[in-house]
Each structure stands twice: as C-alpha cells, then as structure tokens.
C-alpha cells in the first residue's frame, strides 16, 4: 500500500511519486508539478474513492471546510511500466510523508496541510470542541483529520520538527506553530501567566499546551508570520482594532478563570 516517493529540495520542496502499473495517488488540485505521459488525470468529487454520490458530496464539503478543494485529482498509472507524478509545496516549507498506520490510522493536521497521498485516504473534519483552544490556539476550530491506510504527504511552512511526548509529558508551543498531532495528544491553550510577559514577551497572551502521549509536528514559520515579515508592517494600525482586541482579551481571561475545569 505504501507509495514509492522521493522528496526533493531543501526549503521549496516537491515530492515525486513513482506509481506502479495500476496504482493511483491523489493530489490537491493545483499541486501537480509534472507527470509522465500515460498517467490518467481525473478530477473527483470528495476523497476520490468509489462511494455513493451523497457521501462524495458530503466528503467534498468536509474537505472544503478544512481548507482543501471540493474536488481532488486522481492520478492513475494506466501503463504497464512505472510512471512518475510530482506534487509541489504551495509555499516555502517542508513536505513530510507519513504512513498513517504508524500513527494509529488517524492524524490531525492544521487546515490546508494535506498535499496528496494514497488513493482512499480521507480528509475529514476535526472540530476542536474546547472554545478557548479553538479561539486562541492558533489553529482555529477546524482542523483536518486524515484517516485511512497508506501514505499521506503533508506540508507545513518553515522547518518541521517532530517531537515525541511520553504519557503525561507537557509541551508548550507558540500558537500557530502546531502543524500536526496524533489523536492521543491533548491540545489546549494556556495563559502566558503574567500580563508583563504577555505584552512584552512577544509570544502573545496564550500558548498552545500539548500533553502526551503521542507525536506532534511543529512548524518553525507559520504562514501568518511569514506574511507579516514580508509585508514588514504591523497588521493593524490605529486604536480601534487594538481596543477591540483588548476587550476580547479581557472577556477571554474572565471566561478562562471562570471555566477552569
């Protein structure tokens, strides 16, 4: 089931797959970089499997909710010899290949992380049910849940670090740096702890708090931060947005204090 692949490049990467005769892979629309003649290219609604129309539409909606396309492109080797297809990363960063079986069959990633993989891998919705984590964890309420068997290629910006957490082990992560995690890992937010550090520490009011057991993948340069660096100016000027932000912050602090459970 596992695909033959080769990841090329250092910071602007692409992955080249070698498809055995009859083998198929799926890729996000627009991710394809080059493909050998003889590989059939077809767009499918949903996850590219052969399920009923209704569930394909539902799958398409789930996909589009998680920052992917409603459609997926299936690349199938119709020839009698191995053929190549390559997917390129959409932004500076790293591509990692993961065997879903090695992470217990399910992986949760940030929105838009899925680049491609074995045909049959499903992109579902992982809804973060803890309000404070959804609002201030840096990943939003909706993340991707990749399920199935086979290989998936996920992309994250910057360099990807893979950290293993033992049972009960805690790790604090800057919001936005979380790229992927196993389902056994607990994900919450933690208040910075002091107003001074929150304001002048440069990391914001909250950190993402991760608790083992399981593996987490962290990205060194979240795309928002890259954008900020490229634009080179603060994103919000003027008092209005900042006041609003502080009002929001106060509300959240109160809510967090009240809702300690």
């Amino acid at each position: 089931m596992s695909l033959q692949y080769r990841i090329e490049g250092s910071d602007l990467q692409y992955v080249e797959l070698t498809l055995a005769p009859g083998e198929a892979a799926v890729g996000e629309p627009g991710a394809m970089m080059y493909v050998d003649d003889g590989v059939g290219i077809e767009s499918h609604m949903g996850d590219g499997d052969d399920s009923a129309l209704g569930s394909r539409i539902a799958a398409g909606f789930k996909r589009s909710m998680t920052g992917e396309n409603f459609f997926i492109t299936v690349f199938k080797n119709d020839a009698a010899r191995p053929l190549r297809v390559a997917f390129a990363a959409p932004s500076p960063g790293k591509i990692i290949a993961l065997d879903l079986a090695s992470v217990g069959g399910t992986l949760i990633c940030q929105k838009g992380a899925f680049l491609g993989g074995t045909r049959g891998v499903r992109v579902g919705l992982a809804f973060k049910k803890r309000v404070r984590a959804g609002m201030f964890g840096g990943e939003g309420f909706i993340m991707q849940r990749l399920t199935g068997s086979g290989t998936v290629f996920i992309h994250a910006s910057g360099t990807l670090a893979s950290l293993e957490l033992r049972a009960g082990e805690h790790l604090r992560v800057d919001t936005g740096c979380l790229a992927a995690l196993q389902t056994t890992v607990n994900y919450d937010v933690q208040y910075m702890g002091s107003l001074k550090t929150s304001v002048f520490g440069g990391e914001g009011l909250f950190l993402a708090a991760l608790k083992g057991p399981g593996t987490v993948w962290l990205q060194s340069l979240p795309i928002q931060r890259l954008r900020g660096a490229l634009v080179g100016v603060p994103q919000s000027r003027g008092l209005g947005p900042r006041l609003l932000y502080f009002a929001l912050v106060i509300i959240v602090v109160v809510l967090t204090l009240m809702g300690k459970r």
């Binding site: 090695s102 992470v103 217990g104 992982a126 957490l165 196993q182 056994t184 890992v185 607990n186 057991p213």
Partner: protein, 368 residues
C-alpha cells in the same frame, strides 16, 4: 468478561501506542499484549484525560521513574472498564469518565438546548392561536371584567361615553335579546366618536360610536353589528388578541393578576385591532345564529356590510374603520347569506323608530 482493548504507551513503544487488552483482576489492572502480561496495582493508577478533544481516558503509572500509560478512546470500552473497576479505583475512574463524558457531550448539549428552544418558539408560533385560546380560558371572569373596566376608564378620557338616552337604551334592549343566558353582564355604551365603528371590550362592555348609529339605516342593521361584537366577548376574542399582541409580558401580567400594567398596551392595540379572519368568521357565524335565536331579521347584518363596502369603494381606499378591522369581502357576505338561508327562525324586523334614535344620539353628541 468482555474484552476491553486500549492502547499501551511506554518509553520503548511506538508513540502511537500498541493495542493491549485490559481488565481488572482483583485489585490489579492486567494488561495483556500478545504474550506479555503485566499487572499494575490499582492504587498506583493515576486517572487522567487526554486526546485531541479530551475524549480519551488515560490510566498512568510510574515504573523506574518513567511514566507508562494506557489510553481508552472508545466510549463503550470506557464504560466497560468502569463497570469492572474494583472499589479502590472506581471513584477516581468515574470522575475521569465523567470529565470525558462532559467534553464529549457539551457541544451536543449546547446544540440541543439551542435547538430545543428554537423548536419551542416554532411550536409557540405555529400553535399561537391554541395557546392564546388556552390562556384566555385560564383567565377568571372577574379578571376579565377588571381588564375591561380599566380599558373603559382610559376610553372615557378620550371620548365622551354614555349609558343614558334613547340611543344607549335602544342598544341595551336589542343587546339584551341577543345575550340571553350569557354568563356575562353586559353594559352598552354610546360614544360621541364620529367614526363608523363599534367594539367590544373584555368582560361584556360594548361601545357603539355615534358614527355607526348614523350609518345604520334601521335597527336591524345595528342589531347585526351588535350580534357580531357580542360574539367577540362570548368567545373571548378580544382577550385572545390582547394576549397575542401584548406577548409573553402580558401573559405573565395576566397570570399574576396584575391588570393595570397591561392596560396601556391593550388600549394602544385596540385602535388598530386586527382580528384574524378565523375569529371574524366565528363572530359572523355565531352572530348570525344569535340573531336567529332572538328572532331578529337576519338581513340587517348582510345589508349593512354590503352598504358599507359599497360606500368604501365609492370613496376609494381604506376609509371606514369598521371595515378596516373587519375585512369585508364578497366571499364573507356570500357565506353569511348562505348561512342565513339554512337558519330557521320566525324572524321579524325590530320595528323601532330608528330615525328618532338617530336624532336623539345626534343631539347628545352635539352637547357632549
């Protein structure tokens, strides 16, 4: 014993964990992974919650200074483990399980409550007629009379009302024939208002404008109007409309018996009271039957409506208040005529000197 499968996590195991069978044996948690069997004392177990959405139960213990753990994400497996736990660990396990349960259910609870409330509102809107009718029937006769009384007091400050004179007496006579055997004690008023209108207040107060008396050609026609208005009282229509328009605030006031608070609202509503067509039809039909029971000529009601409608058409646009609140249509008149044809009665014209009544009222109006 049912098979409970969880994931075993340890320093020399893959981070995703490896499947292992779990079960309590005496005071020990037995973890079976292929050939390897491990027993952990229940007292040493630390119960925690983990997982992406706090939906996984975790039992951790220390060995050689290193944390080991089993995780259970399947709700059924969690319940099964809880059911077989020895007393020493059951309480802690139950606490952890209830946390997991809470996190799993909280969004469903929120959605359920919001959805339930929306559904309730929808039902209330859909069944508003039945609900207001039900509430109206819960209001005691005394309260109804009190409400009518306080509305009347406010009316008196705006218009001159009288129970004296030929007009009011004639109306009271006709009214007495129409309301025989009623549980209400009716009172009949003539108002100096020139608008062509008549209205009923809760508790049996009927007000006829001077303009209405002028517009009616004979006593039979006025009897038709009275018969209609009386039905609004008998069926508590005005009360229902009040409850409906004043909403739940008024409902509370009525239930609590506080009358004065809603009077202002009610008076405001009364001016442009729009009884639903269903209520109007009920008042029409039962009014017609009341006329038949009182042996009063049935054509007065129909004639008056037809005449007023014709006049309104001539004038163009909405003009006559009585018709504005009582939508007159050809269909309505046709229905009334059909009903009149089926009713048996020894109907006779009232034979009242209507011109004398009219001039009497007109005289009073000028002095009022």
């Amino acid at each position: 014993m049912t098979e409970i499968v969880g994931l075993l996590h340890g320093p020399d195991l893959p981070t995703a964990g490896v499947p292992a069978r779990l079960g309590f044996h005496g005071n020990h948690l037995r973890i079976t992974r292929g050939e390897i069997v491990e027993d952990v004392a229940a007292e040493a177990l630390e119960v925690g919650v983990t997982g992406f959405n706090e939906d996984t139960l975790q039992l951790a213990w220390q060995r050689d200074g290193v944390t080991h753990a089993v995780t259970l994400s399947d709700p059924q497996a969690q319940r099964a483990l809880l059911a077989h736990a020895p007393p020493g660990v059951a309480a802690r396990l139950a606490a952890g399980h209830s946390t997991v349960h809470w996190h799993r259910r909280k969004w469903k609870t929120v959605v359920g409550i919001v959805g339930g409330f929306a559904l309730l509102l929808l039902i209330a809107w859909w069944q508003s007629e039945a609900i207001t009718g039900w509430i109206a029937n819960r209001v005691s006769l005394e309260t109804e009379v009190d409400i009518g009384e306080s509305v009347l007091e406010q009316l008196k400050t705006e218009h001159e009302l009288t129970q004296e004179g030929a007009g009011a007496q004639t109306i009271a006579e006709i009214g007495a024939r129409l309301t025989q055997g009623s549980r209400y004690t009716y009172r009949w008023y003539v108002s100096a208002d020139k608008e062509v209108n008549a209205y009923a207040l809760p508790g049996g107060i009927v007000v006829v404008n001077a303009g209405m008396i002028e517009a009616a050609d004979n006593a039979d026609e006025l009897a038709g109007v009275l018969a209609h208005e009386v039905q609004h009282v008998e069926h508590r229509h005005t009360l229902q409309q009040m409850i409906h328009t004043a909403g739940w605030a008024a409902v509370l006031a009525v239930v609590l018996g506080d009358v004065s608070a809603i009077t202002a609202v009610v008076l405001h509503q009364l001016g442009n009271l729009r009884n639903s067509r269903k209520l109007e039809k009920q008042a029409d039909d039962d009014g017609m039957r009341a006329l038949a029971r009182a042996d009063i000529a049935l054509d007065g009601m129909v004639n008056l409506f037809r005449k007023l409608e014709g006049e309104e058409r001539r004038r163009g646009g909405p003009g006559i208040p009585l018709l504005r609140s009582h939508p007159t249509t050809d269909e309505r008149i046709r229905d009334l005529e059909q009903l009149a044809a089926t009713l048996k009665c020894r109907c006779r014209s009232l034979g009242i000197d209507w011109a004398a009544v009219q001039s009497s009222v007109e005289e009073w109006r000028k002095t009022a």
